[in-house]
């Protein structure tokens, strides 16, 4: 199962849980399953069926370019971090 790290701003929803094992073969499934475990998390992560603007999902070592369709390996880490720009 993927290890999903809960952004600090969402830890009130998860009762202080900082990371959790969640099943799912795609990012969409992982977020849906996260929502089942911690209702209210999905709307903080997704808008219009995409990762919220201003945020990016890191699956494994890299921010994914495949959105919610991103494949999530069995032991992958998933992070939600601010979308970063360069110069």
């Amino acid at each position: 199962m993927a290890r999903v790290f809960i952004p600090f701003a969402l830890r009130k929803i998860t009762g202080g849980v900082t990371d959790v094992q969640i099943s799912g073969t795609t990012l969409r499934e992982v977020i849906d399953n996260l929502e089942e475990k911690f209702p209210g998390t999905k709307e903080r992560l997704i808008q219009d069926d995409r990762i919220k603007p201003g945020m990016e999902a890191v699956v494994g070592e890299q921010p994914t370019r495949e959105g919610l369709r991103a494949k999530v390996d069995e032991d992958a880490e998933v992070h939600f971090i601010p979308h970063i720009a360069g110069g």
Binding site: F5, F8, R11, P53, V58, E77, H83, I84, G86
Partner: protein, 757 residues
């Protein structure tokens, strides 16, 4: 996917394709654009840092002969209050629109409030001066601390920020986030050495030599043409679509040649103003050029603010790190504090970390990216503290960094795990460098004192979307069409990658940077992505082209396609060595075998592989005056694979110079009214070639495994270490620690006075 053979083109140093045009003045920049019937625009800007607009009377301006159109924010369409992804960052269109032209309140000195298009620049300026604005001047807040004080004025009406996931009651808080891993309290409890300091930095500007400009035509069918100096024509198109409330397909953006950007030419400024003036002029072209003072007052400098860092060490290992990062956002929320947090502890493998980041609205220009935005700030703080730890514990500064270096598998301060990175290799190269191993006479007998400092730094480098089209000419040359503005020699580096695949010379590739109607979507030239991502698109297009040409060869020789091989620029039959053609020979036969051959490559890539930079700085300081001279400087960096070494070296040198200016002299000097008092290059003093020695470079190549040639981004890491390297060199020379940048002569003398009593 990493090519392992010796390259024929990659790693060489051909003359850049745009070089002759640029050094002879033939290249077309934004200020060179001249169209029939063109009008000249001028912008009225707020003289106040914070003021409500009670009324604007444009009648006197409209009455001036030669004035064709006048606009205010009333002429701007209403933009949605939503956050939209731009590729490189996100944008709130309502804020973007208000930023282009103030609707009800000026939030910084220089904020546009009206604009005029006239038949000459002088008439436009005269008309702007005739516009009357009824101002209600408000209290302003120009520092992060002032903006967060209980009596601070609320800057963005109705704004509610996010404070760790909750709605904030602080009116000027853009957002406050936190990253936390491990057990920070235990980490510090177990530490035997703890050092904590705060580091203050002033707002600084990217200092590109070419001011912003834009020319627009808004025709009678509501199609808009734009010519502008920009790092990203497609990003301009998206921003304009949101601000002007038009479909993107109705907007065509042509990027003119660019005289520097560094992140500051990603947002739009004058383009929508020129477009609306054109609409109000019946579709005449309107050109607006900013002058230098406008660039300082009203574009996107990098934030000032402060960084507080606490490190805990035990047995030579950093076991705890706590950071508080507070940045100016400018007049609207959205500073690069997120990126700063990502970079905060990235050079080190620290088990227990906490990072708080604060985005704070202030009455200064809306900040924009400046080359590794946020990373220079945090490097100043952590690298200064690391230096202090090494001094206190009598540890070698490079060995301590090696013992604590981040590597593959290290968790970054914001959470993700590092892939293959080159931090250790870069530190080792710095340790083994001629500069580091050269003696330095700290007291050379001329009344001045010398010191040496070292610092490490990190930037992540993005990937994103790029498109390239190739087409073969019958003389064996290849047209390469791309959408990446060429700032640092990327026409060459992208052409070289295509040439390597095709087995031809770089000079036989003819690159063009085209408008948004003429090539597929391409993200900005920025984020250290262009040689990586657009180069990858060129690689894919070239591979596809080889496939089509292989088919043509099989047609000519009447053999199966899988019997044709391609190697070293030659097509040949695998079974009959007599059958062989060079790329050029085959190109000459295309018209007999099916006509033109062209191909496309498009990518949407993961990040370009993080880059680490280690800089070594030798200074000589006059303790009587505080005047500081850099006498030797070396930039060591992991560059993945240097496609064109000269341009990679140029990136390292340029970034180092910008960082040195940031360290020693550059700042927005604000007066009591919240206005920048030094908005010219005379008083905003940037280093020139007369001020600095040759910047030495050491290129470390740890190939990026996800690029066919191992390319990593290189453009941004070089600006990260210099402020810290200079601070550490000042300490080595004078025994003082400066925790406020710029570390100018006045601050040096004050610190010496305090030290010497």
């Amino acid at each position: 996917m990493v090519a392992t053979q010796d390259y024929k083109v990659i790693g060489t140093r051909p003359i850049r394709h745009d070089g002759l045009d640029k050094v002879t003045g033939r290249a077309i920049y934004g200020a060179d654009v001249k169209l029939p019937g063109m009008l000249y625009g001028s912008v009225l800007r707020s003289p106040h840092a914070h003021a409500r607009i009670k009324g604007i009377d444009t009648s006197a301006a409209e009455a001036i002969p030669g004035v064709i159109a006048v606009m205010t924010a009333k002429d701007m369409p209403e933009a949605g209050d939503e956050l939209v992804d731009l590729g490189e960052g996100a944008i709130n269109f309502s804020h973007a629109s208000d930023h282009v032209m103030a609707m009800s309140k000026a939030k910084f000195k220089g904020h546009p409030v009206a604009a005029v298009a006239a038949i000459s620049t002088n008439i436009a300026r005269e008309a702007v001066a005739a516009i009357k604005v009824d101002w209600e001047v408000l209290k302003s807040a120009v520092t992060v601390d002032a903006a967060m004080a209980p009596d601070a004025p609320a800057i963005v009406d109705g704004w509610v920020g996010d404070d760790l996931g909750e709605k904030s009651t602080q009116p000027n808080l853009g957002s406050h986030f936190r990253h936390e891993f491990g057990d920070i309290e235990k980490g510090f409890a177990d530490s035997t050495t703890i050092i904590e300091h705060r580091y203050d930095l002033a707002m600084v500007h990217q200092g590109y030599i070419e001011p912003h400009n834009g020319t627009a035509i808004w025709d009678q069918e509501d199609r808009v043409r734009i010519w502008t100096s920009t790092q990203g024509a497609f990003t301009v198109r998206t921003q304009l679509a949101g601000v002007l409330q038009l479909d993107e397909s109705r907007i065509r953006v042509t990027p003119t040649e660019i005289g520097g950007g560094f992140g500051g030419k990603i947002p739009i400024y004058v383009e929508p103003i020129a477009a609306i003036l054109s609409k109000k002029s019946g579709g005449k072209p309107v050109r607006i050029l900013m002058d230098r003072a406008e660039v300082f007052d009203a574009t996107g400098p990098t934030p000032g603010g402060w960084v507080s860092v606490k490190l805990g060490v035990k047995d030579g290992k950093i076991i705890a790190g706590d950071a508080d990062i507070r940045f100016d956002a400018g007049g609207f929320p959205g500073s690069p504090v997120g990126a700063a947090a990502m970079c905060m502890f990235s050079c080190y493998d620290i088990e227990n970390t906490r990072i708080d980041g604060w985005d704070i609205i202030v009455n200064k220009p809306k900040t924009a990216a400046y080359r590794a935005p946020g990373s220079t700030h945090v490097a100043y703080a952590i690298e200064s503290i690391v230096d202090e730890i090494c001094e206190e514990l009598n540890l070698d500064p490079i060995q301590f960094r090696l013992d604590n270096a981040s590597k593959e598998g290290t968790r970054r301060g914001d959470g993700p795990i590092f892939p293959v990175i080159g931090n250790i290799e870069t530190l080792e190269a710095a340790r083994d460098s001629a500069h580091w191993n050269s003696p330095l006479d700290k007291n050379p007998g001329n009344g001045k004192l010398r010191g040496r400092g070292i610092a490490d730094g990190y930037w992540f480098n993005v990937g994103l979307k790029s498109s390239v089209n190739l087409s073969v000419n019958t003389d064996g040359t290849v047209m390469l069409v791309e959408g990446s503005t060429d700032i640092g020699g990327t026409r060459a580096s992208i052409a070289m990658q295509a040439a390597e695949v095709l087995g031809i010379r770089a000079e036989d590739i003819i690159p063009s940077v085209v408008d948004t109607d003429s090539v597929g979507y391409t993200d900005v030239t920025g984020g250290s992505r262009t040689t990586y991502a657009t180069g990858f698109a060129a690689y894919k297009a070239a591979q596809s082209m080889i496939g089509e040409l292989t088919t043509r060869a099989s047609t000519i020789w009447d053999i199966p396609v899988d019997e044709v091989g391609f190697e070293d620029g030659k097509f040949s039959s695998k079974s009959d060595p007599e059958l062989s053609m060079t790329f050029k020979e085959l190109a000459g036969k295309l018209n007999e075998t099916g006509g033109p051959v062209s191909s496309t490559g498009a990518v949407d890539l993961e990040n370009a592989g993080g880059g680490f930079a280690v800089h070594i700085c030798d200074l000589e300081i006059d303790p009587e005056t505080g005047k500081t001279d850099v006498i030797r400087y070396t930039a060591v960096q992991d560059v993945g694979k240097a496609i064109h070494p000269s341009y990679v070296e140029g990136q390292l040198q340029g970034g180092a110079v910008q960082g040195i200016g940031w360290a020693l002299n550059e700042e927005y000097f604000m007066n009591d009214e919240g206005q920048m008092a030094n908005s010219s290059y005379l008083d905003y003093r940037m280093p020139t070639t007369l001020d600095l020695p040759e910047i030495e470079t050491v290129l470390v190549e740890v190939p990026n495994p996800i690029h066919p040639f191992g390319v990593r981004g290189v453009g941004e890491p070089p600006i990260v270490p210099p402020v810290a390297a200079v601070a550490n060199a000042i300490h080595d020379a004078l025994g003082i620690r400066l925790r406020e940048a710029p570390m100018n002569p006045g601050r040096i003398l004050e610190a010496l006075k305090e030290k010497n009593g």
